[in-house]
């Protein structure tokens, strides 16, 4: 097994092609870096990851290189010795290597790397403005963190800082604070390698290097928001989030994006039950490192003032608020009457979690074996959008990121539940014209058009409509009962993406005060008592449907493949 020695600690690297940063990471040693990113090419321009390297010969002697080298650009092989700036904090229990006498030149191992990193930071701070109080990145800024961890406490810069003007014209969604940039070029490499659209470039030389766009070609592609995540400092800012919240107020919840069937892993940053932004979370099985702009900025529906926030009943042609204690028995009566007479149609939207669909299906099939379970309208927009693009805007191989045409997170999961209960998946278009004594529409669509497009223009309700949705639509207007639905940020449960990857997630924000989650409502209508637990429902689901059996145990953060 090839072995690398990081700060004297032997670590086996297996067959992977690793650089010093990755090898050190395996040994539990963090090497600070700005320009290096796992998903991007290596340029070794920031010089923050400088390490001392050498080789341990089979006879035990160590030969060290005379200069520090960038760790991101230096591959490791069997016997490579890596000494980082944190050598003095190494594990004392590990036996020290037999370093040559002339290697340290009177100092200690790792001192040169440490000093080089401090010098690098001082160089970066020569022109970096100290406007941290008004910078949106403050609190999650790598320049702040590394200055604190590896830098000097004071500046020796006496001259006026070079402060080029800002570039808000860079993009309609993104602004550039040019003076804060440290020229790591992660954003430039992202647009060239991942999105392939190559809008960004570096102009100028030396101190006057700046990120810019070509004249008349702003940074407008469907992955552009990722450059904000990639920026290690506050140079690239999302206009959507600009000055909305300081980042230290935000709490990040690990969730799954609900805007297409890729099922990207995201962090939902929220405070006081308001979602402020979505950022990409790494999941190699779903999305890799990035997310698309539709998902990133598609959370506003949850904060919409139009949202249905309380249950309502139509009496004498007018909607009146109805408290849950009155509404639950009413709903039970309606369902029981329809079940006895036949003609209960339940529409389960692909925005429901697997657990919600399972409890609803159990409820409706338990009331009547004749109840029709239908998959809600599946919004499809255009075709799958594949990245990277070539110069003409056509997708190029190999594909690194796909924005799916299917704009819902859980068609496969809800479909599997329906197949189990009803034998097949009935599309909504088949039943839209049918008469139904009671139509239960469990929606949760983030956009009105997604619901309204599924109904013909001359559609009229043939019976009692119980509509559960986030936003008021044509359907809720003709419903007798209007029940608020919850957004994906307010749910906990499981989504199954287009490839059958089941990802479980927890709740980020609380639903509006008078709304009740779909899972709890189904639980209540089933006559079960108490508060529902998604994990308990998941266990029940895993026992009932063989396809979901892998969900019985603890699901890892990358999800589990259903076969």
């Amino acid at each position: 097994m090839p072995t690398v020695y990081v700060n004297d600690k032997p670590v086996e690297i297996g067959t992977g092609r690793l650089n010093c940063i990755q090898a050190a990471d395996k040994a539990g040693v963090f090497v600070p870096h700005y320009c290096y990113h796992e998903a991007l090419s290596v340029v070794a321009s920031c010089r923050m990851c400088l390490v001392e390297v050498g080789e341990r010969k089979p006879d035990g002697t160590v030969v060290m290189q005379p200069k520090v080298v960038p760790g991101c650009q230096t591959p490791v092989k069997d016997g490579t010795v890596v000494v980082t700036g944190e050598y003095d904090r190494r594990d004392p229990a590990v036996e020290a290597l037999n370093y040559p006498a002339d290697y340290t030149r009177g100092g200690k191992p790792g001192e040169r790397a440490k000093k080089s990193q401090a010098d690098t930071l001082e160089g970066l701070l020569v022109n970096h403005p100290l406007d941290c109080p008004v910078c949106d990145k403050a609190g999650e800024c790598k320049l702040q963190d590394y200055s604190y961890g590896y830098g000097r406490s004071e500046s020796r810069m006496v001259d006026e800082k070079f402060a080029p003007p800002n570039k808000p014209h860079l993009s309609s969604k993104i602004t550039l604070f040019t003076d804060r940039c440290i020229m790591c070029t992660r954003c430039v490499r992202f647009t060239r390698e991942i999105s392939g659209t190559a809008e960004l470039l570096v102009t100028g030389r030396g101190d006057h290097e700046e990120i810019d766009v070509f004249p008349g070609r702003p940074l407008e592609n469907k992955l552009s928001g990722n450059v904000v995540d990639l920026c290690p400092v506050g140079a690239l800012g999302s206009k959507d989030f600009l000055y909305k919240q300081r980042v230290w107020y935000l709490k990040a919840a690990e969730q799954v994006c609900s805007r297409c069937s890729t099922g990207c892993a995201v962090y939902v940053d929220h405070n006081k039950d308001i979602v402020y932004r979505l950022t990409a979370r790494e999941n190699p099985q779903a999305n890799g490192h990035f997310i698309c702009d539709e998902g990133r900025w598609g959370y506003h529906f949850a904060n919409s003032g139009e949202r249905l926030t309380r249950p309502q009943v139509k009496r004498e042609g007018r909607f009146q608020p109805a408290p849950w204690v009155q509404l639950t028995p009413l709903l039970k009566d309606e369902l029981a009457a329809a079940a006895n007479g036949g003609g209960l149609v339940a529409v389960l939207s692909p925005f429901l979690t697997v657990e919600e669909a399972f409890l609803y299906a159990t409820l409706f099939k338990g009331l009547s074996a004749d109840a029709r379970l239908v998959l809600g309208p599946v919004p499809v927009v255009g075709e799958d959008d594949k990245y990277p693009k070539d110069v003409r805007g056509n997708p190029a191989e190999p594909t690194t990121f796909v924005i799916r045409a299917e704009k819902c997170p859980n068609r496969r999961g809800v479909g599997a539940v329906l197949t189990h209960f009803a034998g097949r998946v009935t599309p909504f278009a088949e039943v839209v014209r049918e008469k139904a004594a009671v139509l239960w529409f469990a929606g949760g669509y983030p956009a009105k058009e997604q619901v309204e497009a599924a109904f013909p223009t001359d559609w009229v309700a043939s019976g009692t409509v119980i509509a559960q949705d986030i936003l008021p639509t044509l359907l809720t207007a003709s419903a007798k009962y209007v029940i608020p639905a919850t957004a994906s940020f307010e749910k906990e449960g499981t989504f199954v993406n287009h490839a059958g990857l089941a990802q479980t997630f927890g709740r980020a924000t609380r639903p509006p005060q008078e709304a009740r989650g779909e899972l709890q409502l189904a639980f209540d209508l089933l006559g079960r008592r108490g508060l529902v637990q998604a994990a308990a429902v998941r266990k029940e689901l895993a026992a009932a449907i063989p396809l979901f059996a892998p969900l019985a145990g603890e699901v890892t953060r990358y999800g589990v493949e259903l076969t």
Partner: protein
């Protein structure tokens, strides 16, 4: 460990002698102090007719300072709101108007709940541009809770009042962020 009898010292009331039993010496002693004060310097403050002179570091009502152009000095960094132990500061930040060329961010609203505030002065400590200060105004009254919630205009008017009256001169030195927020090293 239990207490032993040898560790305990019993103390009784002092026995009064003849003069102590008369109480007269104690009465005379007390009268001496009273009469002495009749002729000494007067220390009573005739509040509210006579207003006290408070030290400049007194922590009273807040004010939001103005810069030379009369604009609010605050850059909406939320440092005061973060430092506040009573959570009484509520700020909504926004991009600064384009004609304010020297800064990017300003407070659209800035509200302090003076009833919730504990007047600890942490906001003043935290402010990187010396925009918020506690004044020597101490007699804060209002007829409702809403009146005691001070918005940006009211806090700026406190600045105008206190600087106009001369009770609280501006004691700031900074006022701008970056690059001047970093003082040059001594040569």
């Amino acid at each position: 460990m239990p207490l032993a009898e040898s560790d305990v010292r019993w103390v009784g009331e002092p026995k009064l002698g003849f003069w102590e039993q008369l109480y007269l010496p104690a009465v005379v002693d007390g009268l001496k102090t009273t009469v002495g004060h009749l002729f000494g310097p007067k220390r009573t403050e005739q509040y509210p007719e006579q207003e006290p002179k408070l030290p400049p570091n007194y922590r009273g009502v807040h004010r939001l300072n103005r810069d030379e152009a009369g604009r609010v000095k605050c850059v909406a960094c939320y440092m005061c709101a973060t430092a506040c132990p009573a959570h009484c500061i509520d700020i909504v930040a926004a991009p600064a108007p384009p004609e304010w060329t020297d800064r990017e961010k300003y407070p659209e609203t800035f509200v302090i709940d003076e009833l919730r505030c504990i007047y600890c002065g942490m906001c003043e400590e935290a402010c990187p541009v010396d925009a918020i200060e506690l004044t020597t105004l101490y007699d804060l009254t209002g007829l409702s809770r809403e009146q005691m919630v001070f918005d940006k205009e009211k806090l700026l008017s406190v600045f105008d009042t206190t600087t106009g009256a001369g009770t609280d001169p501006v004691r700031t030195r900074a006022g701008r962020l970056s690059p001047s927020s970093e003082p040059p090293p001594a040569r």
